[in-house]
Symmetry: D2
Subunit: 118 residues, 4 copies
Amino acid sequence: MSRQDSLDELRGLTRAFATERDWEQFHTPKNLAMALSVEVAELVEHFQWLPTGALDELDERKREGIRHELADVLLYLVQLADKTGVDLRAAALEKMALNRAKYPAAQVKGDARKYDEY
Amino acid sequence: MSRQDSLDELRGLTRAFATERDWEQFHTPKNLAMALSVEVAELVEHFQWLPTGALDELDERKREGIRHELADVLLYLVQLADKTGVDLRAAALEKMALNRAKYPAAQVKGDARKYDEY
Amino acid sequence: MSRQDSLDELRGLTRAFATERDWEQFHTPKNLAMALSVEVAELVEHFQWLPTGALDELDERKREGIRHELADVLLYLVQLADKTGVDLRAAALEKMALNRAKYPAAQVKGDARKYDEY
Amino acid sequence: MSRQDSLDELRGLTRAFATERDWEQFHTPKNLAMALSVEVAELVEHFQWLPTGALDELDERKREGIRHELADVLLYLVQLADKTGVDLRAAALEKMALNRAKYPAAQVKGDARKYDEY
């Protein structure tokens, strides 16, 4: 039997986690969006004084912190998508297609300016 | 043949997208963390003046905006995990286990205070 | 003698603080912008599970935390403005004038939609 | 007659602006904290792909954008402090004193690690 897709698996686990704790009452989309932004900032905090954040600038302790924060961001993201009825994989594939059209490789190669600056 | 896991699929797609545009030079972990925080804020913006953000408060236009922003957050998250060598699924499962131990259902049921406030 | 303006006073104090610690090398505008976003998230964290955050929802401990985070945000904001050569008071007055023109009171009264949704 | 202090002046102006538009109903501390985080992200966006954000990396258009975003951040900060009953100047001076004690110049000179890493 093939393994369940990661995003589906995490949706199931976060639902069970919230239900068991009766925390669904706090998990409005608005509150989850705030919680997501707080977790992202905890991730950003690890990088703020580093030159680039490349692997050789990160000691073991920092790598563990980053791993945990990346996980927290994903877990809140999965819950927010669940509450707003969004299929994350489908949405990401749709957005990749839009990005490919918006930033044609031949036109933007090596240039980081935003689309609206062209 | 079973479908590739979503997170692996998106990692492959984002790698190809960046390579084709020669954008890897801009994608330091630090810059990706900043970009992630910007996308999360664009998501937060949709909810900031709503009472809760529940589905019945969202019109079609807002739902589309939210779907695109959720996708952007996931895409930057996948790229940041890739650059820092983190397996997102494994990290999320590890964090869920830590959260279960940190917030025992019997103890925190219906209470949203942070762990460190207990 | 009249008291120095708050924003000028804080600019002087933050400059001295950074110089005494030889921290100016870390205080690029980019890093200060990241630090500012991290402090704002620490502020957001106090409000994320509250209904509205009105004063009667805040105990003494939370009020102290909020006061400290508001201060941190202001201190990084003052430093970032200093490094980018922006007069914060003049910029705020200029922006207020733009906002008055963009959101005429008669037209937007009681309506929180963003300008671009009109 | 001496000029009014900037922070007091901006508090008065933002109060009048909100009252004239009947927007106070939307300006809960929670919503203002979200709005503040969104404005900070718009500021961060200007710096995310730059090497350091120093003045010579900023063209006139970017400097104007940064000036407006710095202003927006200050204006929401003033409003949030107002709603939570915080005197921003006093809070910032209190926090500076705490920071001086927490990071003694002799001990931290030239080192950007966070206090809790010592």
